[in-house]
Amino acid sequence: MVTGDAESWRQALAEDGWSRHLTTLDGWRKFSAAGSRPPELPDARRWAAMPEAEQELFDEYRLDYHTRLAAAATSTLRQVVTTGRRLTLLNRHATSARRGMILSGAAGTGKTTAITQFGKTHETIGQLRHPGISDRIPVIYVTVPPAATPRMLAVEFARFLGLPLTIRANITDVIEAVCGVAVDARVSVVCVDEIHNLQLATRNGAEVSDTLKYFSERIPATFVYAGIDVEREGLFSGTRGSQIAGRFTLIPALPFPLAAEWQGLVATLEDALRLHRHQTGALAGLHEYLHRRTSGMIGSLSHLIRGAAIEAILDGSEQITRKLLDTIDIDHAAQSGTARRPRRQA
């Protein structure tokens, strides 16, 4: 139903359940406030001198840290953030027909990571510009629910903002409240994830698209969509589709080719590891193997390395080797390896 990349990212965040979901204001704020501070590894002598209870506690903390390694700045992420920044500035004084951005690509290429990181950047910039003001909500992040109706989409927005909803509320009331609050709270970026759940060919899908369009007219914000292969799913066909195509910049999220950037990516992830006996450069040497395993998917790569790191802490080997990596299972798409081939060499 939902894509692997979104799931793994979200599960990493879903620490204390409900409040950590990105699709609530509380969870989103926690996410955008969280800075990942890597734990300081003690040297062998200090480690040996530590009492056992303290060692266990430190390991627990390291496990926690490795489950959510910092997002690596891929070229897609950089492109999304810079294009997004440019669009928000361009839209600042637009009265209608605001420009937007669509991030499209296969599952596991880091779309959700890219748009959430863009949202986080925007939120941080907003907070720096308006320090100490807590009733601004610079970013709304929602996902399109499967088989969505316009009311379900409006409810998603309301749920993010924390507006109370009962079955009694009709769609007009919900949209009215959402738009009113969004304007008052100075929302300037709206991220809509899983946009592929919206099928323009169906009646409901077309209505949801119209609702999104209506939101974009009422809320003076830049809309950012992300979804799996949306250009092939027919988001740009028909009258509605051509309007979307006319307003949105398409940014493709592609699997990484086996090139310098991939090597750099592996090295970045390796740098973030905090293992006692891991030799720097060991993982970078395996970059070809890693590319074969993951088919160049950043989501799968991150999953593989994080999984191996946790395994290494749990079994006490404290280093990632090719043998250890072989034991980690990853998603089916990457494992079968034939599902997607890079369509363009970056």
Partner: protein
């Protein structure tokens, strides 16, 4: 559906906009403001917060949605607090120990200034006060009382022009306060202002009692003696008369405590007691609300004389003729009780 479930769950998430409760406001008013700030319909939020059992607002839920503790809400909202019915205090009120502390600082500053050669600035630094305070201490050993707050503005202020126009357009004075009130509420969106407030202002503009009511109750009017005690023009009213007109008992109490004359006769027999009976009976006739006699009763306990005549008619007789039977009965009972222990007090004044 998830949201509906969350509504009945233990921890609903707070609303995006959470205005502060104003001390002394009612729960209903706070829910209304909360809803407006979040672009929700007030009735919708009220229904959401209402308990399914008895329809009262669930305070824990309201507190969670307002992002405040239930204790803070109980403290602020008038109809939740334990000290229900106490008067909200207006203006600064220094506590006794703060006054004492200030007096102690004044004494210390005066002592230091008398013996040492300290400058204003050094004294101010030593005691952590402003140089202005040092100057005050040197001028007088007793700290000056706090400045009073500016008088509270009337909520009627935005409607005063409208009311003035309506009263001026109404040449024969036949328009009732109720009708003016209805116009304000329906056409001009006035909320939260009570009938007595509007009536007080209309009366202060007209200066005299309303004719239409007398005309309606013509049998009563014809039974009145030719020249009953007339209301004096409202502009010339004393503060106590104004308090009676607005049925503001706490203010009336404060005035009487401060030594205000209990009769406050304007020279034509228009006393506070007569005024009270007029206001109470009029409020009952105009609004259809229950007849009450609290201002009358309060004035009686403070020693107002029910037998004080004006043009040969006592207050109690006038109340009876007008139809304020409640006040009449209270006064009758009051008079008989007073007579029984001491007969010699018959002739007042």
């Amino acid at each position: 559906m998830t949201a509906a479930a969350a509504g009945h769950g233990s921890s609903p998430c707070p609303l995006p906009f959470r205005p502060r409760p104003v001390a002394g406001e009612s729960t209903g008013s706070y829910v209304r403001r909360l809803a407006r700030a979040n672009h929700l319909r007030p009735a919708y939020l009220r229904r959401y917060l209402a308990s399914p059992k008895d329809g009262t607002i669930r305070i824990e839920l309201l507190a969670a949605m307002a992002g405040r503790s239930p204790a803070a809400l109980e403290h602020a909202l008038a109809d939740l607090g334990r000290q229900q019915g106490t008067l909200p205090h207006r203006g600064p009120r220094a506590s006794p120990d703060r006054i004492a502390a200030r007096a102690a600082i004044f004494t210390a500053i005066r002592r230091d200034a008398a013996e040492g050669r300290l400058s204003y600035r050094a004294l101010a630094d030593r005691y952590g006060v402003h140089r202005r305070t040092v100057l005050q201490a040197l001028q007088s050993p007793v700290p000056a009382p706090r400045k009073p707050l500016p008088p509270r503005k009337s909520r009627l202020e935005p409607f005063k022009d409208l009311i003035r126009d309506m009263v001026q357009a109404d040449h024969d004075g036949r328009r009732t306060v109720t009708s003016i009130m209805n116009t304000l509420v329906t056409d001009h969106g006035m909320t939260g202002i009570s009938y007595p407030t509007v009536r007080g202002y209309v009366v202060s503009l007209r200066g005299t009692s309303r004719q239409p009511r007398r005309a309606r109750h013509h049998t009563v009017a014809s039974a009145l003696p030719p020249a009953p005690a007339r209301r004096s023009p409202a502009m010339t009213w004393s503060p106590a008369h104004r308090a009676v007109e607005q049925e503001d008992l706490p203010r009336l109490r404060d005035l009487l405590d401060a030594g205000h004359d209990i009769e406050d006769d304007d020279g034509h027999g228009w006393t506070l007691l007569r005024h009270a009976i007029d206001v109470e009976h009029d409020g009952h006739v105009q609004t259809g609300g229950p007849l009450h006699a609290d201002v009358t009763a309060f004035l009686l306990t403070r020693g107002a004389d029910p037998l004080r005549p004006s043009n040969g008619m006592t207050v109690v007789a006038e109340a009876e003729i007008r139809g304020h039977w409640l006040a009449a009965e209270i006064m009758q009972a009051w008079i008989t009780r007073c007579r029984q222990p001491a007969e010699h007090e018959e002739g007042p004044r």
